[in-house]
């Protein structure tokens, strides 16, 4: 015979504090799940705070909120309903009380009762004993992620590409992503340096990267990144995101970075991006093909799509090598240009059917404490002869 273990918990919390915390964890709640408890948020009251956690088994987010706790305890509460209610409650102190498997929330005028699930059913957080630890400024981490995330492949048949490679090498922290059509590598040397890592590369899933991006704005203090064999953990203020890692190996990207791209084109980033936006209005909706016709000190963008029309733009550029015509997916070029913040970009090319490299033009030291670097590779479209 099973006897229900008595569950009790009692605390009061400010509506805004509660809502903020719920907002942080709710996005980890899966929209569809076969395990009912995953639709709930785990609430744990201890001392002067409430710990909240949600997970879809691949990824967990936990955070803390200030509260005055009378009785410590723990319970899981339906996430969607709880969030919806707290969002609609007035800004006042809420009294929260758990009894057996119900959670009562009392506001000034209202009483609300949730039916809950036993906390023992909620999956435990994997204990991550970090083999590698790094500490990064949140803005810097955000830039690294944004500069690579668009290259992450969503092709499920190649799971190793469904995330960004996080690599600590040569005193650099790098993120690398590729979908086989383009590759982006963003790196930095944190001011504080990196403790020499005992372990190599890990692949962080796209979903986790998106969640980290969501949590970063407004974060104060450095983000601590911990990596163990199977997990990565991002500690952002009071919030911790734990994710499973993708099993590799990640392709040997250094091997495919071309070394003989001697044709060097330099062009103003904004001009290039805006011209691309305009001409690609006429590009094929799937291939997005644009032709770069490169002549001494002149770059011409040409789009010709049967049944759609055509467009041409000419740009000033620095170029001194042989004439070159090369095709690209305009969207790939635009993805890159959006994440580059230098005034000009350097494009290094070789032939119309081999990889091109795009990088921000090196700028004078802006006094940034962390030296940052970005290199993007993009494969051409073979132009129909």
């Amino acid at each position: 015979m099973i006897t229900a273990q008595e569950v009790a918990m009692k605390f009061s919390i400010a509506q805004t504090e509660f809502l903020n915390a719920l907002q942080v964890v709710s996005s980890a709640v899966p929209t569809r799940t076969t395990l009912p408890v995953l639709s709930n948020i785990l609430l744990e009251a201890s001392e002067d705070r409430i710990e909240m956690r949600a997970t879809d088994l691949d990824l967990a987010i936990s955070t803390r909120a200030q509260a005055s706790v009378k009785d410590v305890g723990t319970l899981t509460v339906p996430a969607k309903k709880l969030f919806e209610l707290v969002r609609k409650l007035p800004r006042e102190e809420l009294k929260v009380e758990a009894k057996d498997l119900t959670l009562n929330i009392g506001s000034k005028n209202g009483r609300y009762k949730f039916l809950c699930i036993r906390p023992e059913e909620f999956p435990a957080l994997p204990s991550v004993t970090a083999d590698v630890e790094a500490s990064l400024d949140p803005d810097l981490l955000e830039r690294l992620i944004r500069r690579t995330i668009y290259s992450v492949s969503t092709d499920e048949t190649r799971p190793a590409l469904n995330g960004s490679l996080l690599q600590i090498k040569d005193d650099e922290l790098r993120l690398v992503a590729t979908d086989g059509h383009r590759l982006s590598k963003a790196s930095c040397r944190p001011a504080g340096g990196i403790p020499s890592p005992p372990k190599g590369d890990v692949i962080v899933p796209l979903k986790a990267l998106n969640q980290v991006l969501r949590l970063l704005p407004g974060a104060t203090g450095p983000v601590r990144i911990g990596i163990s064999k199977n997990h990565a953990q991002f500690a952002i203020g009071d919030t911790t995101l734990t994710t499973k890692l993708i099993e590799g190996p990640f392709p040997n990207y250094e091997q495919v970075l071309p070394k003989q791209n001697n044709k060097h084109l330099r062009v103003k980033r904004d001009d290039f991006a805006q011209a691309l936006e305009r001409v690609s209005v006429f590009s094929d909706s799937l291939t997005r093909q644009v032709k770069l016709s490169i002549r001494p000190n002149r770059l011409t963008l040409i789009v010709q799509t049967p049944d759609q029309g055509e467009a041409t733009e000419e740009l000033d550029a620095q170029y001194g090598s042989d004439d070159l015509d090369i095709g690209y997916n305009a969207a790939y070029l635009l993805d890159i240009l959006r994440t580059v913040d230098s005034e000009e970009v350097d494009i290094r090319l070789n032939t119309p059917v081999t990889a091109g490299l795009i990088a921000p033009t090196p700028q004078g030291d802006k006094g940034s404490s962390a030296k940052e670097d970005l290199l993007c590779l993009v494969m051409p479209l073979r132009l129909a002869s």
Partner: protein, 586 residues
């Protein structure tokens, strides 16, 4: 006593009558043809719920004099031909002069008629072929024939009749066939216990068709007209999506005579090509006008079948006429409504997709310029598309017309006057098939060069196939080179589909080389089909809103959006009327 006897003339009559009149519908057919030959502008057909008990055909045609009325009941009495030479020039529907006599032979027969020249009409009554009463009668110009108790004197024939429902169905079909073929005639058709059909004179075939088939003007059926080599083909072709499992809704007429013809049926079916699966038959009305000398209608006593002097030529002309019409065919009514008008079913909804396409500014064209559609068409909703989609909606500044995805297999969208359901795989297959053909026969497809070449294992046969098909594959956008003995490195793939799908379909094309040339397809056709089938999004694949929309727009921009390359339908329309009916609203 000799075993062989000369039959009594009345027995002969009954046997021959049996050849012409085998069921109530045959009576209706003969009487209708007489009415048409008499130049009527109104033909009214009435049948009892047991049609063998009573059939009445009434017309306002030329009518007959008293003398003619009596002659008409005699065998081989006809006003329509005089000599054997005339048989080769037959323009009228009847000519053998057997019909009335045959019918009268096996029924209680009453005829009343008045010609324009006569002041009074004539009424003739006969029983089993014997005239029992002739009298004068006051009536309008025209003829009325009433046939009662059909087969009363040939009980064997009577027993062979099918259920009354079946007999009514066949009889109705006869009337419908003629009503379709002769839209300029006012038809009335009534069956005891059923709703009457009144079809006033109509301007054209299509209008009559739409009235008879009870569909609106946007049902996708279209009139066609074609003339070649002295053969004039016209009629109405039903939309492929309305095709049926039987040929019951096909009407063929040669020089105004409704006929059955295997040749014409096959030509019609082939004209639809792969718009239909093999076991579906289009709704159609096909009228053929040829020099009567080219047709032999005297093949069968009921003239149900005709033979052409040059069957294959007629076949070719009809097939081409239908094929050409179907190529021009644009599915009307698929126009997605303007925002806000989803709920309304507008009468002008028939303007359709074509107009919008010609206008050039479909709203998805705008969508496609936002972000990478290549990505968007296949990316997970959770991926980078998220942000872009938000932007798209804003940039358009109007609420989107929803396209729902059902069980990761079908796309549903409101259209004017109803709902359209698209099979995502079949639709994408049609799109890719046409793109592939374009590339194989002309402009080379764009190839995405790969950073990591894909190494594919091949059997020796597949390797041979690769070497043989290399030029074709290159035109599709593949770039492959040998890599060791049994492997090939794919360095470039068609840019408009995801890499994985591209690799899959390459393998499929190579594996299917065994069947190359089967069915008489040129290799290009074979490759295009095989490629499209394996490169298309699968059932079970989640499509985000941008992908769904792109699929819609691209499908209806193809030349034949209603079928995949194998002839399975790509979409089905559910009219509001049907939904209303299901909910008992009408």
């Amino acid at each position: 006593m000799p075993a062989i006897r000369i039959l009594d003339p009345s027995v002969i009559g009954k046997i021959r009558a049996g050849e012409v009149v085998d069921r109530p519908a045959a009576v209706a057919k003969e009487l209708i043809e007489n009415a048409l030959d008499a130049g009527s502008s109104l033909v009214a057909v009435h049948a009892s719920s047991h049609p063998e008990r009573l059939i009445r055909v009434q017309d306002d045609g030329a009518g007959m004099s008293r003398e003619d009325a009596l002659l008409a009941l005699r065998r081989h009495a006809t006003s329509k031909i005089e000599s054997a030479e005339d048989l080769a020039r037959i323009r009228s529907l009847g000519f053998r002069g057997e019909a009335l006599a045959s019918i009268a032979e096996v029924s209680r027969f009453a005829l009343s008629t008045r010609s324009r020249e006569d002041l009074t009409g004539t009424s003739v009554e006969a029983l089993g072929g014997a005239v029992i009463q002739v009298s004068g009668v006051g009536r309008a110009v025209g003829t009325t024939v009433v046939v009662e108790d059909l087969f009363f004197n040939t009980p064997a024939r009577l027993r062979f009749l099918r259920s009354r429902e079946a007999e009514i169905r066949v009889l109705s079909r006869v009337v419908w066939n003629y009503a379709l073929t002769y839209p300029r005639i006012h038809w009335r058709f009534s069956v005891e216990g059923r709703e009457d059909t009144d079809l006033p004179e109509s301007g054209d075939l299509l209008e009559r068709w739409q009235v008879l088939y009870g569909r609106g003007s946007d049902d996708g059926s279209a009139a066609f007209d074609h003339e070649a080599g002295g053969i004039h083909v016209s009629g109405v072709l039903g939309a492929p999506e309305q095709a049926r499992a039987s040929r019951d809704h096909q009407t063929f007429a040669v020089n105004g005579r409704v006929v059955a013809s295997a040749t014409l049926g096959a030509a019609l079916r082939q004209g639809y090509g792969n718009l239909l699966p093999g076991d579906r038959y289009p709704l159609a009305l096909v009228l053929i006008e040829v020099d009567p000398a080219m047709v032999d209608v005297n093949v069968h006593p009921t003239k149900r079948e005709v033979r052409f002097r040059d069957e294959s030529r007629v076949f070719q002309v009809v097939r081409r006429a239908v094929g050409a019409a179907m190529r021009r065919y644009v599915p009307v009514g698929i126009a997605l409504p303007d925002s806000g008008s989803v709920a309304e079913s507008r009468p002008e909804g028939a303007q359709g997709y074509a107009a919008r396409r010609e206008g050039g500014s479909s709203w998805t064209a705008e969508l496609e310029t936002e972000g990478s559609l290549m990505l968007a068409l296949y990316a997970e909703p959770a991926a980078t598309g998220e942000r872009e989609r938000g932007d798209v909606r804003e940039s358009l500044g109007e609420p989107e017309i929803p396209i729902w995805q059902l069980h990761e297999r079908y796309l549903l969208a409101p259209i004017r006057g109803g709902l359209v359901i698209v099979d995502q795989h079949a639709a994408h297959e049609r799109i890719l098939y046409e793109e592939a053909r374009t590339h194989l026969y002309g402009g080379t497809g764009t190839s995405q060069v790969l950073l990591f070449p894909r190494v594919v294992d091949l059997t020796p046969e597949e390797l041979d196939a690769l070497l043989m098909l290399e030029p074709h594959l290159r035109r599709l956008g593949y770039e492959a080179s040998l890599f060791g003995e049994r492997q090939v490195a794919v360095r470039g793939v068609p840019a408009s589909i995801p890499e994985e799908a591209a690799i899959d379909s390459l393998k499929a094309v190579l594996a299917s080389v065994d069947t190359l040339g089967e069915g008489g397809d040129p290799p290009e056709e074979h490759i295009a089909k095989s490629f499209a089938c394996h490169a298309a999004v699968r059932s079970g694949q989640i499509l985000n809103p941008i992908e769904r929309r792109a699929l819609f727009d691209r499908l209806f921009a193809t030349s034949l959006p209603h079928g995949d390359p194998h002839g399975r339908p790509t979409y089905v329309r559910v009219p509001m009327e049907e939904l209303d009916r299901r909910f008992g609203r009408r």
